[in-house]
């Protein structure tokens, strides 16, 4: 189910306005730009889109108060680890979130714990720890407003955000 949604999102991205950017990333980068100038470096948005396309998702979701990683999350993170390993110059910030039903202070703590669980997994997959930083947002940046079960589930997450 989760995989289906994410594949749909990736397709939407490819079919939508960012088609050009996605295509640029899918062909080998030209070594020399027009008139012999070096090409402009890819923007952070282009890199983020590439991570998304190659990992299936830049977000991992959690159930309840947990910080455990299910099989789908581990598959996503394994692919993220490959991408990060292949792009050692790109730093990533793991941004942890909690849902609206979590009281304020506990939300900050559990979102930090989730982000650390992701970091530990990525480091075990060979990503250098120095490439990763942690940021807990608590429940301050919900992906979806409201307290429906769907909103709560979509907000319990860690997003891998590439940093300029």
């Amino acid at each position: 189910m989760r995989r289906t949604i994410l594949t749909g999102l990736a397709l939407l991205t490819l079919a939508g306005g960012s088609l050009a950017a996605a295509q640029v990333l899918r062909v080998p980068m030209p070594r020399v730009g027009p008139r012999g100038q070096p090409p402009p470096p890819p923007t952070i948005e282009m890199l983020q889109a590439d991570l998304l396309a190659n990992s299936g998702s830049d977000i991992v979701y959690f159930t309840g108060n947990s910080h455990g990683l299910d099989a789908a999350a581990q598959a996503t993170l394994t692919a993220q680890a490959r991408w990060l390993h292949a792009n050692p110059a790109v730093r990533a910030r793991l941004e942890g979130h909690a849902d609206e039903r979590t009281p304020r202070d506990y939300a900050l703590a559990i979102a930090e714990r989730r982000a650390n669980a992701i970091r530990d997994f990525l480091v075990l997959q060979g990503v250098p720890a120095a490439q990763l930083t942690i940021l807990s947002w608590g429940k301050e940046r919900p992906a979806i407003g409201g307290t429906s079960d769907m909103a709560l589930a979509m907000n319990r997450r860690v997003r891998t955000v590439l940093m300029p």
């Binding site: 039903r101 304020r104 900050l108 930090e112 608590g138 301050e140």
Partner: protein, 421 residues
């Protein structure tokens, strides 16, 4: 026998509400001050006292609208026979007088009409702009005398003012008098801010800010708005709480997925770690005597409330109600602990005894959290989420309907100061 009855608090004697008359204060001479004419201020002071006493919901207030106007000498020697006809049992009089140094004298007197005698008096010399503060302190004196409990009218509320869409809320720390006046913002809104906490003397405010990225505790001086991080470095710290003497701070620090409780002096020195259990220990708060700390921990698997000594020793779980518990707050008299209860039916505010017995749920919202005690120990201020908005509410510890505290924008994370701060 008669004397004993008169000295006992009026409200404690009967269930019937006490009727009190609050006519406009007098002025010996109508003089212009920097905050307006003394005659006008005298009327405003009575407005504030009447409004304060009405908000207690324990007193029936007559005036100042349509109340009998009296002369300056009558402030200390009222015509008792005249006032008795109003049906009131008590009367508040007073005066506002301009001083030669540019300041004002604000005086108030509480009279027992049946006995025909004065039972309390207060006088303040204040800058003209501070007349409202003097009025609140008159209200405190009147309430203390009639209810036998300290009033909380000369108190402030710090909270987080919210605006904008849910996924990118703009949050600013705001401070106001507890009646909603003198409202001001003390942070700019360029960084997300959380959980403001007023120091016991009211001069400082500790809060959490995301300025620079990571959440961390900052200390703000309210007089000059000087603002600095509590701790050096860029560790993630949150959930600040002052000690009752205002000298120490409690807070949580998260390191590598483990959150513990620490204490430090308010200048950030003398850092002390108080918990070391694996898991999350957060939301600490002192008992009113400073000897113990209530906090939230998931060391048992789910978030529950614990009490430990102020040095971190002897932690004991007190919540056993079968739900998750958060955001504990110790009552001013030390008897009760308020909390947020998290269960399938949402977040609710409740109280239990300091030993964990006698749990009672006080609110019926779906998203009620973050209780803060009124100084009286009778009311709890909290935040209610409803339809994508957050608002401040007050509920009596005896139950009943919540009452909304109107703020210019949405509000969350309220903190109610102690009196005299």
């Amino acid at each position: 026998m008669l004397l004993a009855m008169l000295s006992a608090p009026a409200l404690a004697q009967t269930g019937a509400p006490t009727v009190i008359a609050v006519p406009p204060l007098a002025t010996p001479e109508n003089v212009s001050s920097s905050a307006g004419d003394t005659g006008l201020i005298a009327r405003y002071v009575a407005d504030v006292i009447a409004s304060d006493l009405r908000s207690s919901r324990e007193l029936v207030v007559i005036g100042p609208e349509n109340a009998r106007v009296y002369s300056y000498p009558e402030a200390t020697a009222p015509a008792f026979a005249q006032w008795r006809k109003s049906g009131a049992k008590s009367l508040v009089t007073g005066f506002v007088q301009a001083r030669s140094d540019g300041r004002l004298t604000v005086a108030c007197y509480l009279h027992d009409l049946a006995g025909g005698r004065e039972i309390a008096r207060k006088g303040f010399v204040v800058a003209p702009a501070e007349w409202r503060r003097a009025a609140h302190r008159c209200s405190d004196a009147v309430y203390q005398q009639l209810a036998g409990r300290p009033g909380a009218f000369d108190t402030r509320i710090a909270y987080v003012a919210e605006s904008g869409i849910q996924s990118a809320r703009v949050k600013r720390v705001a401070v106001m008098d507890s009646d909603g006046t003198s409202h001001r913002y003390v942070s700019a809104g360029d960084s997300t801010v959380l959980t403001p906490r007023l120091s016991p003397d009211g001069d400082r405010l500790a809060y959490v800010s995301f300025a620079g990225g990571q959440a961390h505790v900052r200390m703000l001086d309210l007089a000059n708005e000087a603002d600095r991080p509590l701790l050096p470095g860029n560790a993630m710290s949150f959930a600040p709480a002052f000690s009752p003497d205002g000298k120490r701070m409690l807070f949580s620090m998260a390191v590598g997925g483990n959150t513990d409780i620490y204490a430090t002096n308010v200048d950030g020195s003398a850092l002390q770690r108080l918990t070391s259990a694996p898991g999350i220990d957060t939301a600490p708060g002192f008992s009113p005597d400073g000897s113990r700390i209530v906090f939230e921990s998931d060391r048992s698997g789910t978030p529950q409330l614990y009490v430990m000594n102020a040095d971190g020793s002897d932690p004991r779980r007190i919540s056993f109600g079968g739900a998750r518990y958060a955001a504990p707050a110790w009552s001013p008299d030390g008897e009760l602990i308020a909390f947020t209860r998290v269960a399938g039916d949402g977040l609710r505010i409740g109280v239990m005894s300091a030993s964990g017995a006698g749990e009672r749920i006080l609110t019926r919202g779906m998203q009620d959290e973050a209780p803060s005690w009124a100084a009286s120990g009778r009311d709890l201020l909290f935040q209610r989420g409803e339809g994508g908005r957050t608002m401040l509410f007050v509920v009596s510890v005896d139950g009943g309907e919540g009452r909304r505290i109107v703020t210019p924008q949405d509000g969350s994370d309220p903190d109610w100061s102690r009196p005299g701060s």
